[in-house]
Amino acid sequence: MFTVIMNLNYLDFEQPIAVLEGKIEELQLVGNDNDLNINEEISKLKEKSTKLTESIYSNLSSWQVVQVARHPQRPYTSDYIKRIFTDWDELHGDRHFGDDGAIIGGVARLNGQPVMVIGEEKGRGVSEKVQRNFGMPKPEGYRKALRLMEMAERFKLPILTLIDTPGAYPGIDSEERGISEAIAQNLAVMSRLKTPIICTVIGEGSSGGALAIGVGDHLNMLQYATYFVISPEGCANIIWKTVDKAPLAAEAMGVTSSVLEELGIVDETIPEPLGGAHRNIDAMADTLRQRLSEQLDQLNAIPTEELLEKRYERLMSYGN
């Protein structure tokens, strides 16, 4: 016999769900398949757990959304690449300095159509996280992304970007190699690439490091993704001098897709499975694939010149 005290697969505010799921697991372990009473109890508990999840998730605070967006089990770029695309070939390097593991890029097919895919990747497990620098790109990462995007333009491949980063890497080497210039250059060039660009925030969209692969014709956010100009912790640290006020900062800044859709910055919120994308990665990937396919069809139908003019007008209208 064991009891669930604190289940690390669940966030703080999900612990009541964890308790129920623990009970279900216990019953399943002790239960005999022929024991009708136990099976009945299990299905009752399962129903209760679903209802509880629904009620908790229908009313998440901004800070709770940030926590879901950063959930250690949340699907990353590589999880989506595997499930959404076929015929994937990863391409490496910026041709100047190195290959940045925090940004993955390559060519693949979406429903048969060749596309360029670029995404930030946090990595799973200690060694991969280190190799990917916890999803914090350095200049060479953004320059690799730029190289691939310019190549996509030459070969008329639409560009799909997946955004998930705690921010561009703040380090000496980043500064020495011109992290500011690398980000700025991407913003400038993406505004005029003659190919459709769809950007999707799949997890954490932190500031310039996110925007550097985030300029395009259509901006999606997954339902529990987050996008901010400074992390709630950073904002809290400046205003309240303590990171403990991050929940207040998250609320004040409006870091969720609902607020950002209202501001006209985000075009579309893509719904997640109950309890977040990590509860059913396949279902999430399937929804995302469907949305990306439809959006791409729509963008493909727009003549390039018109597409670029629309993109530019949109950029110019931010904040109006």
Binding site: G167, A168, Y169, P170, G171, I172, S174, E175, E176, R177, G178, I179, S180, E181, I183, A184, Q185, L187, A188, V189, S191, R192, S207, G208, L211, A212, G214, V215, Y227, F228, V229, I230, G234, C235, N237, I238, I239, W240, L248, A249, A252, M253, G254, V255, V259, L260, L263, I265, Y312, L315, M316, Y318, G319, N320
Partner: protein, 296 residues
């Protein structure tokens, strides 16, 4: 700890006063670098550069444009653009109140002043950041005024010069601020495609979202001596890598050494230098000569 070390990337301290260059009125001013006590009228004649140690003191946006542009034919751009508190942002104070305080102390509506004018007779658009306003942070007004200024440069095919001094994006406008990075970069890219010169002059300091957009996109990137510019503030980097930063890190000289800027320009030579460069970029014979009123 200096005020700058408290800066965080992409944002600015909510209280713009900290970095303000406001000093009590008086005839004397102390140089923050060499502590020399300077006679104010002399200092002003020297363009607020310390005659003893050559430290370039911070100056406001209007003074910046005033010492840069010719006296005649100046026309301000985008005065009708005023800040909007779309998020109804509130922390310990309302953003609205912070704005009106900043407006009162600086006399500016927001942190960017844009003007069309002339540089030694050459028509030009120039913009300057007001650091005393919310740490020169970029929100909607800064992005929009920059874009409007750039559009005039684009339409009339005349050069655009930007003097930046900023802590980065303004967090009280959250994602709207972030998107100003994309807005300003897109319009600069149009200038580039058209072959209209855009020069970016970084003055102390330039950080965060402005550094990662309009400030590093110049055909010419330059900086005043000793000015600091970078993406992440020194405190954040030290916190991340847990080691002390090398001396001179992120200073103009460091930027030059690492290939981020073309040159360092002394404030006293700014007009001459930029006029000479622009004359070549616009394939004009020579920079129109004018009596040198600057001290070098």
């Amino acid at each position: 700890m200096s005020w700058l070390e408290k800066l965080v990337p992409s944002v600015v301290r909510a209280d713009g006063k900290k970095g303000s260059s406001k000093v009590p009125e008086g005839l004397w001013k102390k140089c923050v670098k060499c502590s020399a006590v300077l006679y104010r009228p002399e200092l002003e004649k020297n363009l607020d550069v310390c005659p003893k140690c050559d430290h370039h003191m911070r100056i406001g946006a209007r003074r910046r444009l005033d010492i840069f542009l010719d006296e005649d034919r100046r026309q301000e751009i985008g005065t009708e653009v005023e800040p909007i508190d779309r998020l109804k942002f509130k922390d310990v104070k309302k953003y609205k109140d912070r704005l009106s305080t900043a407006q009162k102390t600086t006399g500016e509506k927001d942190a960017l002043v844009a003007m069309k004018g002339e540089l030694k007779g050459m028509p030009i658009v120039a913009v300057a950041f007001e650091f005393a306003f919310h740490g020169g942070s970029m929100g909607y007004v800064v992005g929009e005024r920059f874009a409007r200024a750039a559009k005039i440069a684009l339409e009339e095919n005349i050069p655009l010069v930007c003097f930046s001094a900023t802590g980065g994006a303004r967090m009280q406008e959250a994602l709207i601020s972030l998107m100003q990075m994309a807005k300003t970069s897109a319009v600069i890219e149009r200038l580039k495609q058209q072959g209209t010169p855009y020069f970016s002059i970084m003055t102390d300091p330039v950080y965060g979202g402005v550094s990662a957009s309009l400030a590093l996109l110049g055909d010419i990137n330059a900086a005043e001596p000793g000015s600091r510019a970078g993406f992440a503030g020194p405190a954040i980097i030290e916190q991340t890598i847990r080691q002390k930063l090398p001396p001179g890190f992120q200073r103009a000289e460091f930027l030059l050494e690492h290939g981020a800027i073309d040159m360092i320009i002394h404030r006293g030579q700014m007009r001459d230098k930029l006029a000479g460069l622009l004359a070549k970029f616009t394939r004009q014979g020579t920079a129109p000569a004018q009596p040198q009123e600057e001290v070098s």
